[in-house]
């Protein structure tokens, strides 16, 4: 399938990414090739009655015992900006 610049821009918005017009054009071309490649699966003759196996079972959960977690310092260790023991962000609600 082919992609318009508008469709690529929409995917970029969903991805929280910004692209130049040139990059969007290049993505549109690449996406055409990649979706053509992955669309091969549309023709697969498969048994749809086979359901995905559930890998998790309830006994795989650990006992519900409280244990110490990370300290405030450890949690904030890699924060690009922090203040008063919290992550710092611009005002969200005015």
């Amino acid at each position: 399938m082919s992609f318009s610049k508008k469709e690529i821009k929409h995917l970029a918005d969903l991805s929280a990414l910004t692209f130049s017009d040139e990059e969007i054009a290049s993505f549109a071309d690449e996406f055409e090739v990649i979706t053509q490649f992955v669309s091969q699966i549309q023709n697969a003759k498969i048994d749809t009655t086979i359901k995905y196996e559930k890998t998790k079972t309830i006994e795989q959960l650990r006992d519900d015992v409280a244990k110490p977690g990370f300290s405030n310092e450890e949690v904030l260790l890699n924060a690009p900006e922090k203040a008063k023991g919290a992550f710092k962000v611009p005002i969200v609600v005015e």
């Binding site: 995917l11 991805s15 979706t35 699966i41 549309q42 498969i46």
Partner: protein
């Protein structure tokens, strides 16, 4: 010490023949001398001190772990408390691990030494190690060629004798393909065999940690150490872990070795095919039975992978927002701009491509046609493997059908690069174990890998066959 194996080195350190400090210094010196390979992005500054602690234990005759004094390199997507972990991305260039990954912790508990971190494709997305913030890692046998990826640094480091063993991660072939390109031994275990706690997630339902080593026996030892249930990862399998070394028996009598007719169709007429056939003939002469098997839709495993892996990656990489960790764009004025500008600065081109692709296959209108169809196909491929394993014990695939390619020669078309994973992706899609071992040489005398696949939890059967080929096949050429 040159090219010593893990098992030999640990024995020498335990017996006092070699000092752990000397081993660490030997590898650090090799890393410096071969810095042009760009395999190791950081040597940890406390490695010598850790080695001294092991030597002290030896001197005091204290009990020693199974990896005593062995300098091991980890891929740059594994956390080791207090050390940097960057996933070879600008986005995480300053990230310090707040805790240690379970697999790394298990190495340390057995007295192994974490020597440093290895180059990789950014966020493990790539098959050549060319897509790294640190620049490409080069092939240990020919520095004009790629190391493979995404665990290129881990494989190159073992092949170039920069460490005695390493860890990589394998989502679609990222341990096995670089192992093949560098002529070393790499395992992608059964899904859930190893804990993923402390491993930066790419595609969580496909990712597995795997050992990369100089011999099959080394690999069996290292997997025995790192594998097993972990309360921090509820996808880790609860089944007890075998001592894989004890499953190496030295014979392959009555082993049923499968060859897949669809794979044979793919490689027929290539130079690889004659080498592959020679191995099959050899195994038959040694007591194995050859069985033709069929895996329906195996050629669709790769397009299936390029739907499922980006879908999971786009969700996993949603956490990189420039707030909790990762590099924040300084010009962002509001919260939306922090997310958008930081991600735009932070991620490289291939990562962005996969995030976009993931959002496409997950978006309404396409979800059923792509994601749901791919999940159903995945289960069908897994069932097909299960049926095949009712007829044989192992299946032989190529790892890659050719030797490592020249750096920069595959950058024009993303599909061309994706196709390199053709033979490795099926094991991830099916969740089964697969191992790559060097078995022959191709163009320019560069290494070629052979892949052994087996049913869930049958790593021991794989190691037994691999060890047999490693020790006996060379003589038969």
């Amino acid at each position: 010490m040159k090219d010593t194996t893990l098992i030999q080195l640990v024995n020498d350190i335990k017996s006092g023949k070699t000092k752990a400090v000397d081993a660490v210094k030997y590898y650090i010196n090799n890393i410096k001398e071969k810095s042009y390979l760009n395999a190791v992005v950081e040597v940890f500054d406390d490695a010598i001190q850790k080695a001294e602690e092991i030597d002290k234990k030896v001197k005091n005759k204290e009990p020693l772990g199974r990896l005593a004094g062995a300098p091991i390199i980890i891929k740059d997507n594994m956390l080791y408390k207090g050390k940097k972990c960057t996933c070879a991305s600008y986005f995480l260039k300053d990230f310090i691990s707040p805790y240690t990954a379970t697999v790394v912790d298990r190495i340390i508990k057995e007295d192994g030494i974490i020597l440093g971190r290895a180059n990789m494709d950014e966020f493990a997305m790539g098959g050549s190690n060319e897509k790294s913030y640190y620049g490409p890692c080069k092939n240990a046998h020919d520095s004009t060629r790629v190391a493979g990826g995404s665990s290129g640094g881990s494989a190159c480091a073992v092949a170039a004798d920069l460490c005695v063993a390493s860890l990589g991660t394998d989502t679609g072939g990222s341990v096995r393909q670089p192992s093949s390109y560098n002529g070393v031994f790499g395992m992608k275990p059964t899904y859930g065999k190893n804990s993923r706690y402390g491993i930066v997630a790419f595609a969580s339902s496909l990712d597995q940690v795997g050992p990369i080593t100089k011999t099959t026996m080394d690999n069996a030892l290292l997997l025995s150490v790192i594998a097993g249930a972990d309360e921090h990862d509820d996808t880790s399998l609860r089944a007890p872990v075998d001592n894989y070394l004890s499953q190496i028996k030295g014979n392959i009598n009555n082993l049923k070795v499968g060859y897949c007719k669809q794979i044979i169709e793919k490689i027929k007429g290539t130079p690889y095919f004659s080498k592959y056939k020679k191995v099959l003939d050899f195994l038959k002469s040694q007591g194995a039975h050859l069985v033709e098997i069929s895996i329906e839709n195996i050629e669709l495993a790769l397009p299936c992978y390029y739907i499922l892996a980006p879908a999971e990656a786009t969700s996993n990489l949603g956490r990189f927002d420039g707030i909790k960790y990762s590099t924040r764009n300084k010009d962002a004025k509001n919260i939306g701009q922090i997310y958008n500008f930081s991600r735009t600065d932070g991620f490289g081109k291939e990562v962005k491509r996969r995030i976009m692709l993931g959002n496409f296959v997950l978006s309404s209108g396409y979800f059923d046609a792509y994601y749901n169809k791919a999940k159903a196909l995945q289960q069908n491929i897994r069932e097909s493997f299960k049926t095949a394993f009712s007829k044989c014990d192992v299946i032989l695939f190529p790892t890659t059908s050719d030797v490592a390619f020249i750096i920069g020669s595959m950058n024009k078309n993303p599909i061309e690069m994706y196709l390199i994973d053709l033979f490795t992706v099926p094991a991830n899609i099916a969740g089964i174990p697969a191992f790559s071992l060097p078995f022959d040489k191709g163009e320019n005398n560069l290494p070629l890998g052979l892949q052994i696949l087996a049913n869930d939890n049958n790593e021991g059967i794989i190691y037994n066959l691999a060890d047999f080929i490693e020790k006996n096949y060379k003589e038969s050429k």
